[in-house]
Every structure is written in C-alpha cells, then in structure tokens.
C-alpha cells in the first residue's frame, strides 16, 4: 500500500494511524513528497515499533529516526532516495 500525507496531522489522524498499523498486514511504501518532514519524522519515530515492513522515500529523513533497538520492532523499515529503489527493496521483502 502506498501512503502519502500532506500538511499537519490532527490528533484523530494519529489515533486512526495507530489503529491502521495494528490491523494492516501488508507492506507500506511511504511517500514523503509534499509532507511536513519534521512532523513526519516525529510520527515515524513514535510509530516505528508498530510499523509493518516499509520503504520510505521522497525526502531525506534523519537516520536516527529509524535507528532504534531491535527489540522494539518486528519489521524492517528503511529509507531510500528514490521511489524505484524503495519499490525494488520492498518487492524483495
């Protein structure tokens, strides 16, 4: 599934995202083009332990956001420069 979000997140959207991440069983392609990058980084950091396998592209993100202890997550999440690279990795997962 491809995910994209522009503008700020409301509380309701953050809560809906938590429910979605609990239920979703597939892989995610996260497109950060047009996103509020600092806010997205914050949400990715907070939701990282709940995230399914995901490839992020579209904007550079601080590597420390994804660099969390292995015990906190069950699935790999990686950042890529281009959509092609992200898709290629995601297809291998």
């Amino acid at each position: 599934m491809r995910c994209r979000h522009s503008g700020s997140f409301t509380h309701e959207e953050v809560q809906a995202l938590a429910t979605f991440l609990n239920d979703y069983r597939g892989r995610l392609l996260i497109d950060l083009r047009d996103a509020a990058i600092e806010e997205c980084e914050r949400h990715i950091k907070n939701f990282r332990p709940m995230m399914p396998t995901a490839a992020i592209f579209g904007a550079p993100i601080d590597p420390s956001v994804l660099d969390i202890p292995e015990m906190w997550y069950a699935h790999e999440v990686r950042a890529f420069e281009t959509e092609d690279e992200a898709l290629a990795w995601l297809r291998e997962q």
């Binding site: 938590a18 429910t19 239920d23 069983r25 709940m50 202890p69 015990m71 906190w72």
Partner: protein, 434 residues
C-alpha cells in the same frame, strides 16, 4: 548459550535445594501415564514427544531420585542411573523454555492432580542457576536488570512515550501522583507497541473518576526474571513495582494487559517478598467489570457489533490461573450481545496462544510457536470469528504475529480498547480509523 558454559552441578544443587515435601509428593504421585501430553499445545501441534509435560520435568525427577531415594543413590553410584550432564541442560533448555509457556493446562487433565506448571518452573530455576537460559531470553532479563525494562524502555523513553500518548490521544495520564488510590503498571509491550492501550485505559479510569497514577519507579509490570525462573531477578523486578507503590502510598496495584506479570505480582510475590500491608493486587479485567457493575462507567450496548463475529481468547495466567473468566464475558455480552461466540475449548480449558512464558522472545522457538498458534487459528475459524479479543498484551503480540504468519484477516483487539471505544459519550480510539 552452549554446553561448555553450563554448570550441571549448579542445576543439580538447585533441584535438590528446591525439592521439599511438596515437590516430592508431586513427583511420587506421577504414574507417567502421559495424559498431560494431550493437553499441551506444543505436543498437540508438533507431535514431538520431547514436548510432553511429563518429559519436561524429567530432570527434576532424576535429581530427586538420585539424591533422595536410597535405590536411586545406589544405582547412580554404580553408574546405572545417568547423572545430569551439560548436554542434558542444553536439551531441556530447548524444551522448557522454547516449547512451554508454563500455561499449566497439563495440570488440568492430570488424573493425579499434579501441578506440572510449577514443577516446570522449578526446572527453569535449576537451568537458570546453571546458565542454561536461551540467549534471547537472557538478553531481555539483563536489559530489565540494567535498564528497568526488557525492551530497553528507560526512564527517558517512558516519559517521552507517556507524554506522546497523553498529547496525541488528548487524555490526562497522571505520573507519580502521591496519595492516589490505584497504581497502574503497564508492560513495556504496551508502552512501545500498543500506545492506544495506554490512552484507552487512561480514558476509562478518568471517566470512572478513579484516583490513579503511573509511577516512574514502578513503571514496568513485565517480569522476565519470572520467565527465566530466577527467584533473585523475579524479586528484583517485583520490588521495583512495590517500591513505586510504597512511595506513592497507593491502596492497590492494577496490572494492565499482561498475564505472567499478574501471576508474578499476585501469587508469586507473597512467597518471595514481604507484601505491604493491605495492598491489593488486581487486574484490569476485574477493574473493568467492577466499574461497569458499580455504574461508574456506562457502555453502549452493541458497540462492537460492527466487528463481525467476536470471540474471546482466555489467557492462561489471567483466566485459568487468575479465575477472571466471567468478567470479560459479561463485558463482551454488552459490547457484542449478538455476535459474541466462544471458541472451543474455552474458559479454564482454553489452550494457550503459544507465545507466553517468554517463548515469543526466543527466536529459535518460532517453529513450535507458530505450530501452536495454528491450533488457535483453527479454533477461531471454527467459531467463525472475525475479531478476537484478549486482555493480555503478550497474547496480543502472538496473535498479531500469528495471524500475519498464516495470512489470516482476523482482527486482534485488546479488551480495554473495546471497552474504551464503547464508553458512553467518550470519543473512541478505534472508532476513527479510515
């Protein structure tokens, strides 16, 4: 962990030290009929005879015979009876840690009434003394010793996550509030992986007008020392919670959605430490039921009817051990009066999810963990369940992983989450998904 780093003598000494009249009576009563195997989800799902509960306690029985029975002593001295070796420790480590959740269903079917779960826990105690704990599990124990949490949820991480939940879910979460009645202790699984559970429980308690608080000192309810079988570590982790309770002067400690932690705090703690006078240990399931009965919260009838067929997973430590069997059912009959249905077997006879007792933390246990979950999946299918509800976040992790592993589309829900979503006049955290 390897055979070269183990100490078989330490295991033997521990087995002997632990063996009192109670263990002796249990071991003497066993006729080795093997009926216990029929109750074990690991044996049922794999057919591996090493996973039979009677075999899991074999080391303890061997130690008992060799030290306490005159014939056993003679036969051991003559070399007829095999002494416990490092290789034995390695073999039993794979059995009692990686193919046992200490769910104690085996005790339910034993015609002699032998409490196999506690005996298996004693085998773990001997293996822990001998350094025969699987590496993954031991790493989590060490993390909990050093950082206060098996997942490495430090004070800073705890504070950051609670603030985040409080802010995004727009709910007040009191921390270190002296004089509160109830200390709520979450597991780090909930802190890291189920943040909505924290918000939902906070919302319920606030709606009920409960005087409650979290504690930075007693912030971790999971007890990996209990999984390990180490009395020293179990005590250390229990003490942290009780210190938090003492410091804040609470009247009760409420364990949130964690089963083994409930067992450790409610039944094991009084055997290991001096419990503060009058301190009640309770579980969120009991509290939810109390709040509804007392009219302190009102739930919308049928609020979960849109979730399709709803079933409940009985957790071994909360329902079978804890006896909280009717409480969740009373709640679900309000939430899903038409669509609630039981899996078979259920209540105290339910089978374990396969991930408890620390098994989910051990990577090499994955094959049998998934095999055991396959039984649960069959039961959910037979019940035509679209949603499965539980009150244990360790079970919930196993269910989430299991349904993904098997490609099932059954939704996995926490009971508190469903109750919070049904609070009359309160915004629901699961009612806003798109």
């Amino acid at each position: 962990m390897s055979a070269t780093t183990m100490d078989a003598k330490a295991a033997m000494d521990t087995f002997v030290r632990e063996t009192g009249g109670w263990i002796a009576s249990q071991l003497e009563a066993c006729t080795r009929c093997g009926i216990c195997a029929s109750a074990c989800h690991f044996y049922q799902s794999t057919g591996n005879p090493d996973f039979a509960p009677v075999w899991k306690v074999e080391l303890l029985r061997r130690a008992y015979e060799q030290r306490f029975s005159p014939i056993g002593r003679i036969l051991t001295a003559l070399g007829v009876r095999k002494r416990i070796t490092d290789e034995d420790l390695l073999a039993w480590s794979r059995v009692v840690y990686e193919a046992c959740t200490v769910c104690n269903k085996c005790a339910l079917v034993c015609p002699m009434g032998i409490q196999l779960g506690p005996l298996i826990h004693d085998v773990r105690t001997g293996l822990a003394a001998a350094g025969a704990v699987p590496d993954d599990l031991m790493a989590a124990v060490n993390k909990q010793v050093e950082e206060g949490s098996p997942l490495g949820v430090t004070d800073d991480v705890f504070e950051e996550r609670i603030e985040w939940v409080s802010d995004e879910w727009d709910v007040e979460i009191p921390v270190d509030r002296e004089g509160a009645d109830t200390l709520v202790v979450f597991s780090s699984f909930e802190i890291m992986k189920f943040p909505e559970n924290i918000a939902d429980i906070a919302r319920i308690l606030n709606a009920a007008g409960e005087s409650w608080t979290l504690s930075t000192k007693g912030r971790e309810v999971v007890n990996f020392g209990f999984y390990e079988g180490s009395a020293e570590h179990t005590t250390l982790f229990i003490d942290r919670v009780l210190d938090g309770a003492n410091e804040l002067g609470v009247k009760r400690v409420m364990v949130t959605e964690c089963g083994h932690a409930y067992d450790a705090l409610r039944w094991t703690a009084p055997n290991l430490v001096e419990m503060p006078d009058g301190l009640e240990i309770t579980h969120i399931v009991a509290v939810l039921d109390e709040l509804v009965k007392a009219g302190r919260i009102t739930l919308k009838t049928g609020a979960a009817e849109d979730d399709g067929g709803v079933t409940f997973h009985d957790a071994c430590k909360i329902q079978r051990r804890g006896g909280h069997i009717e409480e969740p059912r009373r709640l679900l009959k309000i939430l899903a009066p038409e669509s609630f249905r039981e899996m078979t077997p259920n209540r105290e006879a339910a089978i374990c999810c396969g991930g408890g007792g620390g098994v989910i933390a051990i990577k090499s246990a994955d094959p049998q963990r998934y095999a055991a979950f396959g039984l649960k999946l069959d039961q959910m299918r037979a019940a035509e369940a679209d949603t499965v509800v539980m009150a244990c976040s360790n079970c919930r992790l196993q269910f989430l992983d299991g349904v993904q592993h098997f490609g099932s589309d059954v939704k996995v829900r926490g009971l508190s989450e469903m109750v919070a979503a049904a609070l009359d006049g309160t915004p629901a955290s699961d009612g806003q998904s798109e």
